[in-house]
Amino acid sequence: LAKTTQPISMDSYEGQEVNITCSHNNIATNDYITWYQQFPSQGPRFIIQGYKTKVTNEVASLFIPADRKSSTLSLPRVSLSDTAVYYCLVGRYSGAGSYQLTFGKGTKLSVIP
């Protein structure tokens, strides 16, 4: 499974756009890139998943360059409630019917008023 590297922490003011970049240099052809969010005392929550180029949903955008060795999660106009830990995960279907998620240390985002 590909190893991911992301900032340990970030601070942002309310209303700003936040971009969290994750590097995954040894990503494999079949790997997808997925981001999860975790609030204290809660389980991780799926945010977005992509394979290449750009993916957008109602909460975030995911930018993946052509070489796929990195990805950037973009959170538009963050609010205090976006304060959480954000995990970048890279993984693939194992072919044995399982898809285990491999979590790194994540990026702790603190939104300040």
């Binding site: 929550r45 279907y93 194992s94 285990q100």
Partner: protein, 119 residues
């Protein structure tokens, strides 16, 4: 729609005792996963059920851990006997469908976790 629920939310036991954690997945989800985060470490995969069958138990740390999913609904994770290093937060997640070939997988919905403290 109810999410993934876990019971208890917190358990404190002494070393050598037995503890059983329970997870109720989202109704209709065939896939059920157990993960855990021990103190200061990352969240780690333990095992994956598809209905009542263990699809992948490569993350189970040792034979003191026993997971079951009788009837393919809720699951239990028993630790017997518990050791100090078992302390941490145990998460359960569920997903529907079958992980697809080519890398795409179905979103996993996580429960709030059970915090286990072994004294």
């Amino acid at each position: 729609e109810a999410g993934v629920t876990q019971f208890p939310s917190h358990s404190v036991i002494e070393k050598g005792q037995t503890v059983t954690l329970r997870c109720d997945p989202i109704s209709g989800h065939d896939n059920l996963y157990w993960y855990r985060r021990v103190m200061g470490k990352e969240i780690k995969f333990l095992l994956h059920f598809v209905k009542e069958s263990k699809q992948d138990e490569s993350g189970m740390p040792n034979n003191r851990f026993l997971a079951e999913r009788t009837g393919g609904t809720y699951s239990t994770l028993k630790v017997q006997p518990a050791e100090l290093e078992d302390s941490g937060v145990y998460f359960c997640a569920s997903s529907q469908g079958t992980p697809g070939l080519g890398g795409f997988y179905n979103e996993q919905f996580f429960g709030p976790g059970t915090r286990l403290t072994v004294l």
